[in-house]
């Protein structure tokens, strides 16, 4: 989670006087929260200056526009003319002028645009008199549409110093309100930088300025300057005259504190507060809401403020009790709704913790207040809520309602029950100071458990051993102390008491190692390659083979694809696969990702289809796991077996390409004597153009054209062939070391043979018959099959190269010819073959 931090503001909490923002960012990032970006606080006020309106004239060509002659200081020798549409523009007004070259947001929207000298309806305009929203100050200076920023009004919210009396205000005004003064100087923004800081989820304390300041002080070895406010009012368990709190679900709300203040004056917040809220990226709403947000920014403890007048009280019990506010912390009832401060209605359920008054929910606990009980201009009596809510309940409620807030973001990380009294004290302090009023009675505190800080012990030697650097015990103690731990060291053992703001984070002694190591500085820990024994396990052969397959496939010209392990019912259906035996995802992202695939082929078909318009020739492969059920039900983890799938889009040659690749693959894996059998089952495959490779009765691969029906389903045009190859068998049969023999020293004799057979006679049978005819047959190599002119119908001619050789002698021509005759005779007997 990220937050924005004004560096000037941070200096109130830690002594960072002579530390540059750059230096700060570098050091803090290596030991604590990471500073991801730094930008100047006055980024939008570049070339925006104070201007004094000397004269206002009619625009000759436009009714709604006027011509202002403005003194913008000494940089411009003469006053400039600016065309302005501001409804409140008047002579002698002090205004914010964006000079040429400044960046402004047109009508307060979009990205800032660089200002150029222009002519508007024929009149020259050298700059722009700005509305607050055009220079990013809308929240600080709320205004009507078309109203420009009046800098004298800015005085009313204390822009100029903290001087109280009218006399000194006037003096400061005259001193600073000079034409040409940079607006950023006037607003006290010059020189400050805003840091975008990433805080890890366990360090919600560092989301607060106090916590971040404490981190900074510890890491940079500076003084921590902040003093915790103290709640000096007495506390009551629940009831007093004006406020009653009942916590109905104590697990979800371990602590609920409330304070009632009567007679406040709500309004606009002082500039210093607005400035800090603005720096943190928060809107200014009104003083009371701003106070809760300000405390949230300081302590990361969310607060809420209710308007007493808008809370429903018990009405039936007479006038006396009508003054008493009644707050219930309970689970919502079905059908209840609440209109939150974002203006939307939310339907609640019985898992949602709410804050309710006598009538119904007025806030979703820890997430957002309700519109009905919010504070407005006329608010006089208020109740501050400072509570601890269960982090998981807040997180799940936010997800369920799809309602997120700064408050929820902090609560869901887990806050300490010790934070509410301090945050409440700070809110009361600020309210009494800025809004007046007085505490109506003791503060209510419903706390269901006794807080007992955790303590952990670790030997200082062990800390050094884990880090790998010898850090003196004294230094270790210093570091923990600077972070707020209560530390005692004796006999080499450090006992550390966890400060409340680290509740839910520091959970055991090992956590102390991290605290010491990071503040010591990770940059100070050297790099060292571990020595020692090798891992007593061999390389997994499957992984080596898998990689080998990829090398072979790439070498053979195939392109590798990676598709999701998930498939949709629709795709599986189109491909003719059955999804009922697949492992289904309980909470899929969409139907497209409904279950785990048991075959790579449907996804591959989809890839072929999606690419076919651009690529009429495709050779694709994927090696991935598929997920099979073991046994009858999914009581066991799936059998994750590795498969190879290939697809060839290559017209009439598709099948040959596919089969050739399988042959090549088997050859590369050293698997020989493979039996090819026709596979004529109707289904996914083309029944006349599919074969299966077997070795020792085990199926190695199915290769064939995809059935025309399936191709039509997935809209693939032309022929496509695929390979389905469960790799388990191939890996089991593959030989790491190929067997080999020395070549025969005697020359081999070659003969070509072409025979005419019936078309249904298959080549593999002919070749096998030839090979088995005599031991002298060394090789049979197919080179052509022909049917057509010159060959009778229903017949084909199969042509082959034959090699004959003997390991111990040179064969004579007569011998080989004799052999050939015998082979031919055999073929005639078996297949009715004729020599061509």
């Amino acid at each position: 989670m990220n937050r924005l931090v004004s560096y000037d503001w941070l200096k109130h909490y830690a002594d960072l006087e002579d530390v540059s923002p750059e230096e700060f960012a570098k050091r803090i990032s290596l030991s604590g929260p990471a500073v991801e970006k730094i930008f100047p606080a006055d980024a939008l006020l570049h070339k925006v200056v104070v201007g004094h309106v000397l004269e206002v004239k009619r625009h000759p060509n436009a009714d709604k526009l006027k011509l202002a002659i403005v003194n913008v200081g000494t940089q411009h020798t003469a006053p400039v003319q600016i065309v302005c549409g501001g409804s409140n523009l008047r002579k002698d007004q002090w205004v914010a002028v964006a000079l040429v070259g400044a960046y402004v947001k047109w009508h307060g929207e979009g990205e800032p645009v660089k200002l150029e000298p222009v002519e508007l309806r024929g009149e020259k305009s050298e700059g722009m008199i700005c509305a607050a929203n055009e220079i990013g100050l809308a929240d600080a200076f709320p205004h009507e549409e078309r109203e420009i920023l009046d800098l004298e009004e800015a005085l009313r919210i204390g822009v100029l110093a903290d001087s109280e009396d009218e006399h000194s205000k006037k003096r400061v005004f005259e001193h600073v309100m000079k034409p040409g003064t940079l607006l950023a100087d006037l607003l006290g923004l010059s020189g400050d930088v805003i840091m975008d800081v990433e805080v890890t989820s366990n360090r919600v304390d560092a989301m607060g300025m106090v916590g971040f300041g404490r981190e900074a002080a510890a890491i940079l070895e500076r003084d921590f300057l902040w003093e915790e406010p103290v709640l000096d009012s007495p506390r009551s368990k629940s009831r007093d005259s004006q406020l009653s709190v009942t916590v109905h679900d104590k697990d979800l709300c371990p602590r609920y504190m409330a304070a009632r203040i009567n007679g406040v004056k709500n309004g606009s917040s002082p500039w210093w507060m607005k400035k800090r809220l603005m720096a943190a990226g928060m809107n200014s709403i009104n003083l009371l809401v701003d106070i809760t947000n300000y405390v949230l920014l300081e302590y990361a403890q969310p607060l809420h403020v209710f308007d007493v007048a808008r809370l429903r009280k018990k009405s039936e019990s007479g006038k006396q009790e009508a003054e008493e506010v009644e707050i219930h912390v309970r689970l919502a009832q079905p059908q209840e709704t609440v209109k939150a401060l974002d203006g939307k209605d939310y339907a609640l359920d019985d898992k949602t913790l709410v804050i309710a008054d006598a009538e119904g929910p007025v806030a979703v606990a820890g997430i957002m207040g309700g519109e009905r009980s919010g504070t407005y201009e006329d608010t006089t009596d208020i109740v501050f809520e400072a509570a601890t809510f269960d982090s998981v309940s807040v997180r799940r409620t936010a997800r369920r309602l799809n309602l997120y807030s700064d408050s929820q973001l902090r609560f869901e990380k887990g806050l300490s029950t010790e934070a509410p009294p301090i945050a409440l004290a700070r809110a009361i302090e600020l309210t009494l100071e800025l809004a007046g009023g007085e505490l109506a009675g003791p503060v209510t505190d419903v706390c269901t458990h006794v807080y007992k800080p955790l303590s952990f012990s670790i030997a200082s030697k062990e800390v050094s051993a884990r880090i790998g650097v010898e850090i003196p015990e004294k230094k270790q103690v210093e570091i923990l102390t600077s972070l707020g731990f209560g530390v005692k060291a004796s006999k080499g053992v450090i006992a550390a008491q966890v400060p409340w703001w680290r509740d839910h984070d520091i959970e055991e002694a090992q956590d102390l190692v991290e605290e010491i190591a990071r503040v010591y500085g990770y940059a100070n820990i050297p790099a060292e390659l571990p020595v020692g024994d090798a891992a007593p396990r061999g390389t997994d052969a499957e992984l080596v083979w898998e990689d080998h397959i990829r090398t072979i496939a790439k070498g053979a010209g195939l392109t590798e694809v990676y598709s999701y392990s998930f498939v949709s019912d629709e795709l599986y259906g189109k491909a003719g696969y059955d999804s009922s035996a697949c492992l289904h995802v309980q909470n899929p992202l969409s139907e497209e990702f409904a279950f785990m695939r048991t075959s790579l082929l449907p996804s591959l078909l989809q890839v072929v289809a999606e690419n076919q318009e651009r690529y009429r020739e495709q050779s694709l492969f994927e090696v991935a796991k598929v997920y099979y059920r073991r046994g009858e039900a999914w009581t066991d983890l799936p059998d994750e077996s590795l498969e190879l799938g290939c697809a060839f889009l290559a017209g009439e040659g598709s099948f040959a390409k596919a089969k050739g690749f399988v042959e090549h693959l088997l050859y590369e894996f050293g698997i020989d004597n493979v039996i090819w059998e026709r596979f004529a089952q109707v289904g996914f495959w083309h029944p006349g153009r599919t074969a299966q490779a077997f070795k020792d009765g085990k199926l190695l691969a199915t290769v064939g054209e995809v059935s025309p029906h399936i191709l039509a389903n997935v809209k693939i045009e032309g022929r496509a062939a695929m390979i389905d190859c469960p790799l388990k068998e191939i890996f089991a049969l593959s030989k790491g070391i190929k067997s080999f023999t020395a070549p025969s020293p005697y020359p081999e004799s070659k003969r070509d043979l072409a025979v005419i057979v019936d078309t249904h006679v298959e080549y593999d049978d002919i070749a096998r018959a030839i090979r088995e005819a005599d031991a002298l047959v060394a090789a049979v190599e197919w080179f052509d099959t022909y049917a057509g002119k010159g060959i009778a119908d229903g017949k084909k001619s199969v042509a082959m190269h034959l090699d004959f050789s003997s390991p111990d002698r040179t064969l004579t021509a007569e011998e080989v010819d004799g052999l050939l005759q015998r082979i031919l005779l055999g073929l005639k007997e078996k297949f009715g073959a004729e020599m061509r």
Partner: protein, 352 residues
């Protein structure tokens, strides 16, 4: 006779010199030195002369024969040379026409990255392993010190399978490769030097997230393992994978299964870690000079215990990084939409 010999020599010499082709030369050779050649005939006649004459004329005739043979050899060499030169001079193809290439295959970016990662870690003794991608909650979460109500275990973060619960909890799609940690520890063999690379699944899909991706998980467990070793190994990887001029840094981070936990950054190749681009503008590639690589940390004692390992005796470190992210960082390619990696558009795949 002497004159006759001289006369033959002269004619032969001229004929040899005038030969234009190898064929001409062969003809000359046959004409003078062949079986029925003039000089051969002369030599034959010599046998009928008296000894004295035979001797002197014979030696002369043999000298002439030798000279002619040497001359023939020289001219033949020259003519041969000329012919070869002529071939080179006259033959020509359009060399700008494309050649005939072997088929061109392509391996997916992820495969290439996995290979390189595997290779680098294997050089420092890490053995690649493989563990389930569909696993029990125990291995994916519980044993990794993640409490029951941890956000990662919510149904909107992790995929749960439509399967009955077992003693080891629900069946999930592993959201990280860290399920290998306790599985590897359970083997009870030390030291553990594991690099586990697998598919991972998270319930998110948008331009920067895909529901399936790959991680590589390193685990090193031995006696006396410290942060310095983690730094050493990751430093080695960064320099091997990204280049010797790159450096890493450790920043504090938070993971449930490591303590201390770190975010590892690698220095930016573009701005050389300065964070500044040309003209002192901010570097467009990185965050203040560094790029986030991924998480790492010292194995949490609770994880060791879950794997039946005594945390008093053994310690270790672990890291788990995204393969896709690391690969993209190396190439410096910014993909506007990460989903292109699994879209299998051949225009994309054929670039690798």
């Amino acid at each position: 006779m002497t004159e006759k010999l001289e006369e033959i020599r002269k004619r032969a010499e001229i004929a040899i010199r005038e030969a234009k082709t190898l064929q001409d030369l062969d003809d000359v050779e046959i004409c003078y030195l062949g079986r029925k050649g003039e000089l051969t005939g002369m030599l034959r006649q010599l046998s009928s002369l008296p000894d004295e004459e035979k001797k002197s004329l014979g030696s002369k005739a043999n000298d002439i024969k030798g000279e002619l043979e040497r001359m023939l050899l020289a001219v033949r060499r020259q003519l041969l040379e000329n012919r070869l030169t002529e071939i080179g001079r006259t033959e020509r193809v359009d060399v700008t026409e494309p050649g005939r290439r072997p088929p061109e295959g392509h391996l997916h970016l992820v495969t290439q990255a996995i290979r390189e990662v595997t290779e680098i870690f294997s050089r420092i003794g890490f053995v690649r392993t493989r563990y389930p991608e569909v696993d029990w909650d125990w291995y994916a979460f519980e044993s990794l010190n993640m409490p029951k109500d941890h956000p990662a275990r919510d149904e909107w973060e992790t995929f749960f399978m439509d399967a009955p619960e077992s003693k080891k909890g629900k069946m999930v799609l592993t959201p990280h490769t860290s399920n290998a940690q306790v599985r590897e520890l359970e083997r009870g063999q030390f030291p553990v030097r594991m690099i586990n690379i697998a598919k991972c699944y998270r319930r998110q899909i948008d331009v920067t997230h895909v529901p399936m991706f790959h991680q590589f998980e390193g685990l090193y467990v031995d006696t006396h393992v410290s942060i310095t070793h983690l730094r050493g190994v990751l430093d080695y990887f960064a320099k091997e994978f990204f280049g010797p001029d790159r450096a890493i840094r450790l920043r504090p981070f938070h993971f449930r299964f490591t303590e201390p936990s770190f975010e590892i950054d690698v220095s930016c190749a573009v701005c050389k870690g300065t964070g500044e681009g040309p003209d002192r503008q901010k570097c467009r590639v990185c965050k203040r000079g560094w790029l986030e690589l991924g998480g790492a940390g010292m194995v949490h004692p609770n994880v060791l215990k879950a794997g039946n390992v005594d945390p008093k005796k053994y310690s270790g470190f672990a890291f788990g990084w995204g393969v896709e992210r690391t690969a993209l960082m190396k190439s410096g390619t910014k993909l506007d939409d990460i989903r292109v990696l699994y879209k299998n558009d051949l225009r994309f795949l054929k670039q690798f």
